[in-house]
């Protein structure tokens, strides 16, 4: 019935072309990272690196300051996600469960904050960090990344909290719990998957962030995206090392996505599609 629309063959042919189109760049990145130099610069591309090598990965890992970049990225990202999670849980509970004057304004601000044009505010961010003597620490980056993921975190958690049946909380309160106790004992455990996936998406955002670090804190706040973008210049035309670096940078995210998508794509699209 369904297939009668197109016939059997064409959808499959188109699908194969699309699979190649979407997967090839990712495959090419990983394959190049494992190739011998002579296979990378050969006039006929080598499509499968039978003669695989880990040399490019060791070049990348042994590059100056690699571990500084990794530690900085990890610190900033984890810091940003943890802080935003705490702040967002409180706010999400309020807008999901309570009615009060100004609620709609707050929701509107959250939606708008999600669209904030960080890309064009880098100069201001830089000057604020400088004027507060924070250029030599990771703090401004952590705080601004936190702000980047906060609206999304609030929005998604709001959805997860709203999905917990209200009766659960009420019956706990009938049993003598205060509202806070009801939240901690009943809702919080049920929120665990929501908190997990929300924080992982926050992690991905902060891990990827590029424009801000480009200007703020170039020296002390070296994070991986900056490292990666400087790699081409640092290594000249060493495409093997560049692709190994890209692979190392992308792999954690690719893995997270695979684990996440079943559980959280619903939450992500809720948050994104609704604002």
């Amino acid at each position: 019935m369904r297939r009668s629309l197109f016939g059997r063959t064409w959808p499959n042919v188109i699908a194969v072309v699309l699979i190649v189109f979407f997967a090839f760049p990712v495959y090419w990145m990983i394959a190049t990272a494992f190739k011998q130099d002579r296979d990378i610069i050969s006039k006929t591309p080598v499509f499968i690196p039978f003669d695989a090598t880990f040399d490019h990965f060791s070049t990348a890992v042994n590059a100056p300051d690699f571990w500084t970049y990794v530690t900085n990225s990890a610190t900033v990202t984890v810091g940003a996600v943890v802080i935003s999670l705490v702040i967002a849980t409180l706010a999400a509970f309020a807008i999901a469960r309570m009615r009060f004057r100004g609620r709609k304004t707050f929701v509107l601000v959250i939606m708008m904050a999600q669209m904030a044009p960080w890309e064009v505010m880098t100069i201001a961010v830089y000057m604020i960090s400088r004027d507060n003597d924070m250029l030599n620490s990771l703090l401004p980056l952590t705080l601004f990344y936190m702000m980047m993921v906060l609206p999304f975190t609030i929005w998604t958690l709001r959805g997860f909290i709203a999905a917990v049946p209200k009766e659960l909380e009420e019956s706990a309160m009938v049993d003598g719990c205060t509202r806070t106790q009801a939240f901690v004992k009943v809702i919080f455990p049920l929120l665990a998957p929501g908190l997990m996936s929300t924080s992982l998406f926050g992690f991905i955002t902060a891990w990827n962030e590029f424009p801000l670090v480009l200007i703020v804190n170039k020296e002390q706040g070296k994070t991986l995206p900056l490292w990666l973008s400087s790699f081409k210049t640092a290594f000249g035309n060493d495409w093997g090392a560049t692709m190994a670096a890209s692979t190392m940078f992308a792999i954690p995210v690719l893995i997270l996505f695979v684990f996440l998508q079943r559980k959280a794509v619903g939450g992500l699209t809720d948050g994104a599609v609704k604002g």
Partner: protein
């Protein structure tokens, strides 16, 4: 307890498919949320403590938003009224110049060229993303189980690629000497492309950037489209088919009206995302050759930080924000209406 936690999971239902995204469940969940609290609140006769509670809960988020988002925004506006170059920055001088930066920009043909280019860039990308994403979503719905899984995984890979990594890979794919794209075009018989430098020309640079943006953005639309399609009752298709409707007619009379909120929301999101895209444009060729691929965010950044005319950069930033604001106003009106209906 087990029963209840199952109810929670209905928000993101597990199925055998690789990708599960339910748009409509959220609307249903939201509906239950909306009406109930009002009644409880007014019936209970809340005391001062519980009346203050929501505000206390929102306090940290509000403070953070004001300090970390409001302040940079305000600062950008203030900077845009200053003559702030490297000298003033280093010596901490504040020189107010009124609307000079704006006058300079608004009378600069470069600025208008960049603006026009940004509009065309956004339009082309969004049309490609929406049409491509919709068609792939429809295709996902038509494929057999295995093929659908394979395509979903491919889409997922493109979606999950970090922007900086993806940009680096595209530079490599389109490398002048060793890029696989040039080799492929040469093999197809287009021999002049064997050593083509894609970054030497405005249009071919844009071609690479647009391909990259579309490649990264289509999965989001396709997955949501597919998820939306699974929520349309089968009977509607059958009824349409009984009336003798063809594929196009079914799209127009069943699919589009049912998924209208999805199309509206996604289109506006993509407009905003594409309009703001910075990394792809900046990292592929730094806005070159000859400034010819600069879009507004890149222009603001390069004039401001790159050229060390921070006041000018801020003015461009403010103009960019105003344009975004105009786009968002429409989008948020729709969103707020949705919120009212909850």
């Amino acid at each position: 307890m087990a029963v209840h936690s199952e109810r929670v999971q209905t928000r993101s239902p597990e199925s055998g498919e690789a990708v599960v995204a339910e748009i409509d469940t959220s609307a249903a969940g939201g509906g239950a949320e909306g009406a109930a609290p009002k009644r409880t609140r007014s019936a209970g006769g809340p005391g001062i403590g519980s009346r203050l509670a929501p505000y206390l809960l929102l306090l940290p988020a509000t403070v953070a938003t004001l300090a970390l988002l409001g302040w940079p925004l305000l600062k950008t506006v203030l900077l845009s009224f200053q003559n702030l170059n490297r000298r003033q920055l280093v010596m901490h001088l504040t020189e107010w110049t009124g609307f000079d930066n704006y006058k300079e920009q608004l009378t600069d043909p470069d600025f208008w060229a960049v603006t026009g280019r940004t509009v065309v860039f956004t339009l082309v990308n969004v049309v490609l993303i929406m049409v491509g994403g919709t068609l792939i979503g429809l295709l996902l719905n038509h494929l057999g189980k295995r093929m659908r899984l394979a395509l979903s995984i491919a889409l997922l890979m493109a979606w999950a690629m970090p922007v900086v990594a993806a940009t680096t890979v595209y530079t490599w794919l389109f490398d002048e000497q060793w890029g696989v794209v040039n080799w492929f075009l040469d093999q197809l018989g287009w021999h002049s492309m064997a050593d083509y430098n894609w970054m030497s020309d405005e249009y071919s640079t844009f071609f690479v950037v647009i391909l990259l943006v579309v490649w990264m953005s289509i999965p989001f639309v396709a997955f949501n489209m597919y998820a939306g399609l699974t929520t349309i009752p089968k009977e509607l298709y059958e009824a349409a088919r009984m009336d003798g409707a063809g594929s196009l007619k079914i799209f127009g009379s069943v699919i589009f009206p049912n998924l209208k909120p999805f199309f509206l929301a996604t289109t506006f999101l993509e407009v905003i995302w594409v309009f703001k895209s910075f990394t792809q444009v900046y990292a592929i060729n730094g806005g070159g050759p000859e400034k010819l691929t600069r879009t507004l965010p890149v222009h603001a950044f390069l004039e401001g930080s790159g050229g060390q005319h921070y006041g000018v950069g801020a003015a461009i930033a403010v103009l960019t924000i105003l344009m975004l604001g105009a786009l968002m106003a429409y989008y948020f009106r729709i969103m707020i209406k949705q919120e009212d209906e909850l």
